[in-house]
């Protein structure tokens, strides 16, 4: 029953989300859907898309929170996708091996051809990062645009996840969190990057940069 200790990978690609500058425009949500529905991870189906209750598969969502009491309130837009945990609880529970973490770059992926749609991996993810595609009946999730970031036909500057390319405010940083000199590592180190739900020891690779309180002009 002893679970194997998580291997420490030499490389771990991840996103760092800057909550200071996310304006909640959902451009990352739509660009993610656009890229991935036509890419290797697609199609991401929609149900009742033009009806009263549209629903569908998304790998990325932007939520909104309000902190504090009026008039001292803050509105915080909060993008949320798979965190590509270093010890992903969704992987060992998969009965078929469809869910796996890549050794070469730490991306957590689903092999759709092996997935039986039992949903156990989604139960085993505390973040709700996985969504079953209702049409294909297989589990889907953020791939960090694995079919884009290594594409040598794209100019090097474009070899980033679609959400990162689309963000108008630069709220999404992408890189290797195991490389101490990468943009993401520097941001985590210098700006207090933190992990979600640290209480479950999943060691999320994606981290968030907290809001800095800045004094109003003239104060």
């Amino acid at each position: 029953m002893a679970e194997a200790q998580p291997e420490t990978l030499a490389k771990q690609l991840a996103l760092v989300i800057d909550l200071n500058v996310c304006v909640g425009c959902h451009a990352c949500v739509t660009s993610c859907k656009e890229w991935n529905t036509g890419g290797a991870a697609g199609p991401m189906s929609d149900q009742n898309a033009y009806g009263a209750g549209p629903t569908g598969t998304f790998f990325n969502r932007v939520q909104t929170y309000e902190a504090g009491s009026y008039p001292e309130t803050e509105t915080i837009h909060f993008p949320k996708s798979c965190l590509h945990c270093e010890d992903p609880p969704c992987v060992p529970v998969c009965p078929t091996g469809a869910s796996y973490k890549r050794k070469e770059d730490g991306i957590v992926l689903v092999d759709y051809d092996k997935c039986i749609g039992c949903k156990y991996c989604a139960w085993a993810c505390p973040y709700g990062a996985r969504e079953l595609d209702e049409e294909r009946q297989v589990m889907t999730k953020c791939t960090l645009c694995v079919d884009r970031i290594y594409d040598e036909l794209l100019p090097p500057a474009d070899r980033k996840p679609a959400c990162v390319m689309a963000c108008p405010t630069g709220a999404r940083l992408f890189g290797d969190v195991k490389d101490p000199h990468s943009e993401v590592s520097v941001a985590i180190r210098e700006r207090g990057g933190y992990a979600l739900m640290p209480e479950w020891q999943t060691q999320p690779a994606n981290q968030y940069l907290p809001r800095k309180v800045t004094a109003a002009v003239g104060e």
Binding site: T64, Y65, P126
Partner: protein
């Protein structure tokens, strides 16, 4: 969590079948030997119920045609282990049944059947226990309750079957065990319910978002008409409905069956009481399993509180 009918059917029907096999195997091993006809019908019934359970578990899958792949990851996945042990149990029970048909008499097969039945309860319960952040499930009581509830309903079924086949003395002695198992299962299920009621969730909106403000509310979950996250992890039933299910759990699952078993013992096990006890308990245990899932508060629900 949203209780899936397929998983409720599978765990209750297979659990009762496991209990039936264990009761028959113990009777055989202890020399309380019921007639050949009872063993034959009992094992055949158990096989039928296990096949029904297996069928229900297939229907839980989005891609049932690929179910065979689920045996691959037995090194890490309790679900994979269950997928291996369930057919193995069907195989052992089938072999035992065949060897009895062929006139054989061995204690190896009933012993093996008991061991594999226990292993199957362990696998089924560990599927839930090993999800550490569903605090309602992540406890040894889950294993204890899956096992005791299966043993209880299987023992009641054995007694009911015995009385239907005219084995009244055997039915009476099994009824005592069924009553004991039912009361014990009730006590430990109650302990689990108490534990769940007292649980403090380890995660909260602050830890889920990392926003340190003591007052923090969600204003939008990011979509207007729900998603897999809102369908799979919320039971959607009203508080009143949940209360009724809890009443059914206690009343139909344990109290009424226990009274019927006591009545059967004092009135010399008339034909109707024991089968009635099984049917009532079977209905109550559906409620028990429904609540087992509905009570589990998944931390992902913190992210899905408000539509706007």
């Amino acid at each position: 969590m949203h209780p899936a009918w397929s998983v409720i059917i599978f765990t209750t029907v297979a659990g009762a079948a496991q209990g039936l096999v264990v009761a028959l195997a113990l009777a055989e091993l202890l020399g309380a030997a019921p007639s050949a006809a009872l063993l034959d019908r009992g094992l055949l019934l158990a096989l039928g119920m296990l096949v029904v359970g297996l069928g229900a578990s297939f229907l839980h899958l989005g891609r049932p045609e690929r179910a065979w792949r689920a045996v691959m990851m037995w090194r890490t996945s309790w679900l994979s282990r269950e997928v291996i042990v369930l057919p193995a149990f069907i195989g052992v029970v089938g072999l035992w049944w065949l060897s009895l048909r062929g006139g054989g008499s061995t204690s190896a097969l009933p012993l093996l059947a008991i061991a594999v039945a226990l292993l199957l309860w362990l696998c089924t319960a560990m599927i839930y226990v090993c999800i550490r952040f569903i605090q309602e499930w992540a406890h040894a009581l889950t294993v204890v309750n899956y096992t005791l509830i299966g043993l209880a309903s299987g023992a009641v079924l054995t007694a009911a079957l015995a009385v239907l086949l005219g084995e009244v003395p055997f039915a009476r002695s099994v009824t005592r065990w069924a009553l004991g198992a039912t009361l014990l299962a009730w006590a430990l299920r109650t302990v689990a319910l108490r534990r769940n009621a007292a649980l403090k969730p380890k995660s909260n909106l602050q830890s889920a978002t990392g926003i340190r403000s003591p007052k923090l509310v969600q204003k939008s979950m990011g979509m207007s008409a729900g998603s897999f996250n809102t369908r799979e992890f919320f039971h959607g039933a009203s508080a009143a409905a949940v209360r009724h299910v809890r009443l059914a759990l206690h009343g139909l699952g344990f109290l009424l069956p226990a009274l019927l078993l006591m009545a059967a013992l004092s009135f010399g096990a008339p034909l109707v009481l024991l089968p009635l006890a099984f049917l009532v308990q079977a209905a109550g245990l559906q409620a028990e399993r429904w609540l087992f899932f509905a009570q589990a508060r998944h931390p992902q629900n913190l992210y899905y509180q408000t539509v706007s």
